[in-house]
């Protein structure tokens, strides 16, 4: 097909640009570890209260001051637990599921972002380096009270002893 020279140049440059972008993104994900959420199992939303670990939602300490796990339930219109305290420098794994409709999960100021879909379990790991407050916000429309659905994460200064 006859294509003008300058347009051919433009087309080639476009391809180079897109290939470079794509390589950059995949490198950061598959080698750098900035990965998108992966399947973490299924669950019956009607039986969330009886299914471990969701029968006992809350914060668990795995390695004191370093690693924590939060088992969380999303429902209209609250996260359970609604407030979490962890020390600065800790890595927190959130294991979350929805009891009713689709909800969303994002942490302000962090790259944590995952959908909460009834029947599916979502898994997100987040590192909190600095003391401060973060909000977990439901970012998917889940009914007329959607705008009131959030939880708080309070990152406390690390105790001197742990350092």
């Amino acid at each position: 097909m006859p294509i003008e020279r300058s347009e051919r140049l433009f087309i080639n440059l476009s391809i180079v640009m897109l290939v470079l972008f794509f390589i950059a993104v995949l490198t950061s994900a598959f080698i750098g570890g900035l990965q998108v959420p992966a399947p973490a199992g299924t669950i019956d939303p009607a039986a969330v209260n009886q299914t471990p670990p969701f029968d006992n939602p809350g914060l668990r300490e795995l390695v004191p001051g370093k690693r924590y796990e939060v088992v969380m339930i999303a429902q209209t219109w609250a996260f359970i637990p609604g407030e979490i305290r962890v020390p600065a420098g800790s890595e927190v794994t959130f294991r979350i599921t929805s009891r009713d409709v689709i909800h969303g999960f994002e942490i302000t100021g962090k790259n944590a972002n995952v959908m909460l879909i009834p029947g599916q379990i979502s898994l997100v790991k987040v590192k909190f380096d600095e003391p401060g407050e973060h909000y977990i916000i439901c970012h998917e429309y889940c009914g007329v009270g959607h705008q009131t659905m959030f939880a708080k994460i309070i990152v406390e200064p690390a105790p001197q002893a742990a350092k």
């Binding site: 347009e7 993104v25 995949l26 998108v36 409709v101 429309y141």
Partner: protein, 547 residues
């Protein structure tokens, strides 16, 4: 001479346009409500709407499901008839398409207005609307299938009369648009007919929300190209004529549309990067294909701007950028499209951010996303449709356009408005502000301060867009009621510097081959995933009415 033969179809094309723009009117009105909500002004209670979300369902359904589908169902048959110089082949086809659309829209709107289906335009289960809401949407899609069949039969009939010839460009790309849409619509058709309707009727008790989302987005991304491609038809083949330029290459335009046929659909997982039920490998594969579908839009950016440059230089424009000022900026039909294209540049760039796999986690489901798509469907598509109406209404009615100054005000208000609106939404999104959230009653107070300026920009920009939209409707109604001068307006059709005979017949004639390739690509992109998923499907969710 063809006008009389076209009259039968034109009647229903006019009604289809009227229906589409009536939907847009209500949709835009809800947009104003949403904008003012960001300033804490609640207009919903004055018109009997129960919540922001009920208004938002009207906004989404009427703007992007009804307006776009109705506009395409009118505009592309109009283009096909003029390009082929023959009426539509299917007797009563345009009439059936209109009546299906009308009944569908009335059913869906009724069930939104009685607050039984406040499920937004994405209607994700387990949110459960009224069965008639879904049935209404089914009729809207079936109407688009009738239009597809009609265009297909019309081009077939033309080919029988012109053996061995390549289909004229405007008819070719109209047909490709509808082939793409017909294939792509199978996802949402399966979702609604197999999963949702039986479930909302109570025949089936439980459904699988993850599976429903996957089927929804199988159609949910290509639908944006179904919205966009009619604008491309105008930018590629009409705008050059309107500015005194030419199409660079006829075969290249065909190639671009074929690339959209191939790549529009197997990309749906880029809307589901954060879904727990889809493995990262599949998401990465769809990311690659999404980057590929960006490529034909890059070609378009070059080709359309080059066509404009030819026109601007012919009008006496000198220097690197001097030709830009020589374009007919006083013609609202042209200015609408120039600004639509400019908005689309920013929409495209932000779209590439959304598509970028892990970068998506920064903005997924935040206000950044509406910031993006009000530049694409909200401006590139809508402003182009308005620009098209500035010649199409005179062409259909024989009345000279009334209120040219008002039409220019429409275009500029909309453009300036969306620039402020989208900038605000994107800034808010980067600060974690969620999309489609009733901000006036939100309870995360410290965050509301962070989002104060984004919210105000959303309100101001949205209000300017609304005023621009009202100026458009004033011009339409004014032309119908007050215009006394008769004019004869023809559909613009630009000449191509490189004609179809220079292209390989594979690209100019063999749509059958490309259709098969498109289907195979979709099967590769979805079937292994779906087979694997269905082995462990989660049909566990009962319907919820939580509004």
């Amino acid at each position: 001479m063809h006008q009389r033969a076209f009259a039968r179809d034109d009647t229903y094309i006019k009604w289809q346009l009227a229906l589409g723009f009536a939907a847009l009117f209500l949709g835009i009105l809800m947009g104003l409500f949403q904008g003012l909500d960001r300033m804490g002004i609640d207009l919903y209670k004055y018109v009997g709407l129960k919540s922001y979300y009920q208004g938002l369902t009207i906004h989404g359904v009427l703007n992007v499901l009804v307006f776009t589908t109705a506009f395409n169902g009118a505009f592309l048959p109009y283009v096909t008839m003029r390009a082929l110089k023959r009426p539509m082949a299917l007797k009563g086809g345009t009439a059936i398409a209109f009546w299906l659309m009308l009944v569908g829209v009335l059913l869906a709107t009724w069930k939104i207005l009685d607050n039984s289906s406040t499920v937004l335009f994405t209607f994700y289960p387990p949110l459960q609307g009224h069965p008639l809401f879904y049935l209404g949407l089914v009729l809207v899609v079936v109407s688009s299938w009738v239009t597809f069949l009609n265009i297909l039969l019309t081009t077939r009939a033309w080919k029988q009369d012109h053996p061995g010839e390549a289909l004229p460009l405007q008819a070719f790309i109209s047909l490709v648009t509808y082939i793409m849409w017909f294939i792509a619509s199978m996802g949402v058709a399966t979702e609604v007919l197999v999963l949702i309707l039986p479930w909302s009727l109570g025949i089936v008790e439980k459904t699988d929300p993850q599976l429903a989302r996957t089927l929804f987005w199988l159609t949910g991304h290509p639908i944006v190209y179904f919205w966009l491609l009619p604008a491309y038809v105008s930018w590629y083949t009409m705008l050059p004529k309107q500015v005194g330029g030419k199409i660079l290459s006829d075969p290249l335009v065909r190639l671009v549309f074929i690339l959209f046929l191939l790549l529009s659909t197997p990309v749906g997982f880029h809307h589901q990067y954060t879904d727990p039920g889809v493995p990262p490998g599949w998401k990465a594969m769809h990311a690659l294909l999404t980057f590929s579908v960006f490529f034909p839009s890059m070609i378009t950016a070059y080709s359309v701007v080059a066509s404009l440059e030819i026109g601007g230089r012919k009008a006496g424009g000198k220097g690197l950028f001097g030709w830009i000022w020589k374009l007919p900026w006083g013609d609202p039909a042209v200015t609408a499209q120039l600004l639509a294209g400019l908005g689309f540049f920013l929409g495209g760039v932000s779209g590439l951010i959304n598509a970028s796999y892990n970068i998506n986690m920064v903005i997924h489901n935040t206000a950044f996303v509406p910031g993006h798509f009000h530049l694409t469907v909200g401006t590139a598509v809508t402003l182009t449709a308005m620009g098209i109406m500035y010649w199409l209404l005179p062409a259909l009615t024989g009345k000279k356009l009334w209120g040219r100054g008002l039409a220019l005000a429409n275009v500029w208000l909309w453009f300036i408005g969306v620039m402020i609106f989208s900038r605000g939404q994107m800034a808010g999104g980067l600060e974690g502000m969620p999309r489609r959230t009733w901000m006036a009653t939100a309870t995360y107070l410290p965050l509301m301060e962070t989002w104060d300026i984004p919210n105000k920009m959303t309100a101001i920009g949205g209000t300017l867009m609304f005023l621009g939209g009202m100026a458009f409707f004033a011009v339409m109604v004014g032309t119908l009621l007050f215009s006394r001068e008769r004019v004869k307006v023809e559909m613009p059709a630009a000449e191509a510097i490189i004609g179809p005979e220079k292209g390989s017949p594979l690209f100019t004639k063999r749509l059958d081959v490309w259709t098969v390739v498109a289907v195979v690509l979709i099967l590769i992109a979805y079937v292994p995933y779906l087979v694997n998923y269905l082995g462990d499907a989660a049909f566990v969710a009962t319907g919820q009415r939580v509004w």
